[in-house]
Symmetry: C2
Subunit: 340 residues, 2 copies
């Protein structure tokens, strides 16, 4: 029942490496749920000498973008984090009528609508653009806004969008210092080598701008996000929160106020029972308010390789199999060996 889907992967750091591992470890689940066998045919890296995990064969690795783009892939996945390279790969992929999947929030903020238009122009030859992994880690907020809420008039999108910032604030709640919390987040691959994008809210600003685009149709590059990051040492913030039996979170929102779009990122003190206050570790939480569906709330893991890779995978198989294959009973039983 399975067809093979050839994937070319640009970037093999935290996210790209996690995708390679996920594809390798979950081959059976993927085939069962989607009817697709994924084969990674090419991996683009910056440094050929750096060691990759055991699931990356040496012969498929290249550091040459043209070589990478020439590979016979059905889907090109971008996890470099670099905007110029990502933009070049995106344009070339979509123009050649192929599927492009990205985790790059900065790319989507900068030129998401242009890339969407390019994919639309080349849709007849098979071009698609997907970017679930760009916002929300393992939480499918992009698909919710793009598809599930088509036809909804949206009033607001609010979220704790930086799993990295959340992890640090959450550890400080447990009494750790800022320095300890930060180094622990870095050890776990939850922040970039330079964590300032996460802490200053630049990362969250890119994400809320992309969500505002999906919800309200405004080009994310043109959105002026009112931005306040975490304080240099967030200790005063977390202490103030604790004294009110609340917690501090880096929150973002995009909402319609009197016909104007208001988009902002900043630290907030929130109640522990609020969906934002209930986030622990590297979780994110997002609420969408619309006329017909009221408030929809999503939460889950929002940072780290595994969660982001799972969003990439969802987009990869979606491009391949718009109808997920649900196998007949006997096959499913055989695969899962359930004794009900």
């Amino acid at each position: 029942v399975t067809t093979t889907l050839r994937v070319a992967l640009a970037g093999c750091g935290t996210v790209g490496g996690a995708l390679v591992d996920l594809v390798s470890h979950s081959a059976r689940e993927i085939a069962w749920r989607t009817g697709v066998r994924i084969e990674i045919v090419r991996v683009l890296v910056r440094d050929l000498r750096r060691l990759r995990g055991p699931n990356v064969q040496r012969e498929i690795v290249t550091d040459d973008v043209d070589d990478f783009l020439a590979s016979p892939a059905d889907v090109v996945v971008e996890a470099t984090g670099d905007v110029p390279t990502a933009g070049q790969i995106a344009s070339a992929t979509l123009s050649s009528g192929r599927r492009f999947v990205t985790a790059n929030k900065a790319l989507m903020r900068d030129s998401g609508p242009e890339l969407a238009a390019l994919a639309h122009r080349h849709r007849a030859s098979g071009a698609t653009l997907d970017f679930e992994a760009a916002v929300g880690g393992g939480v499918p907020i992009v698909r919710l806004l793009r598809e599930s809420m088509a036809g909804h008039v949206i009033d607001s999108v609010r979220g704790v969008l930086s799993g990295s910032a959340n992890y640090i604030l959450w550890r400080m709640e447990q009494g750790e210092s800022f320095a300890e919390s930060l180094s622990c987040a870095q050890e776990r691959g939850l922040t970039e080598a330079d964590p300032s994008r996460d802490l200053q809210g630049v990362d969250a600003a890119d994400k809320i701008a992309v969500l505002a685009w999906l919800a309200f149709g405004v080009h994310p590059r043109t959105i002026d996000v009112r931005l306040r990051g975490l304080p240099d040492d967030p200790r005063d913030l977390t202490s103030a929160a604790r004294s009110r039996n609340s917690v501090a979170r880096l929150a973002a929102h995009a909402s319609h106020v009197n016909g104007k779009l208001d988009v902002a990122v900043g630290p907030e003190i929130v109640d522990r029972t609020h969906p934002f206050g209930r986030t622990t570790e590297d979780q994110v939480a997002i609420t969408v308010v619309s006329r017909s569906a009221g408030q929809i709330c999503l939460s889950g893991r929002g940072a780290g390789g595994a969660a982001t890779a799972s969003a990439l995978l969802a987009d990869i198989v979606r491009a391949a199999a718009p109808i997920p294959v649900l196998l007949p009973t006997e096959l499913s039983y055989a695969n899962f060996q359930l004794q009900t």
Copy 2:
């Protein structure tokens, strides 16, 4: 940019009627987000004499199934709630290579895998099967399990799945009697004329069985759901909850325990800070635990025509436009008249 999508709608009660209204009121949002203009070309009803809303033209209404199936529709939407009729419509639609979208949880529990196999067999001619509206109302749990979590090894799915039962329990929390709460739920179109399916948990059992199918690959009809409904008068239950500063909810779960699948529905007393305890009115809440993504939580409106219709709409436009059209900036601005 828009293409027209012809919809034949079976059933024009609470859910079907809400879909007609949603399509009529949100035409602009739908066209903007998806590039699709929806035209309802045929409506199947049981009683031709019953008055429909102002958005249903008399000349498209029929009470003849064959006449209905012969209509020139791209998508057939089923919101009758009746299993035999729904099954007949589903088989005929998929066999003829057309798209079938349903809100019918009982149908999906009874023959979801067979219908999925039928859609798969006829996929080359364009058959697709979608049933987001069958579980969770406006909360996109079906898509989460079918697509976003492809490749995840799922440990458990838990949920407050009956918005109707939740509404009644929530009103009783505010001090109302069972009879008052029930009649209020009925007035708002949140329960069937016969509410026993909701109250006895049969409705939730169908839903958790369908989710267990998506998560674990077991045929939902073969799943033996351990079922306890609400007590005849849930007052003792809600009082017991209140005395523990907690709330009573009708909860369902499907989980792997020692290699066995355990699926159950029953009243539970849950903490107010738990995602289930935080549901108000007709909200539902669902948590999915998997190895790579940890716990993902979704909540939102789970009953009533508008929420369910919005899930139908998401499936309708998805079938039409697997690439949602994200329009260039100037168009979006023009449509929304935002002054940023």
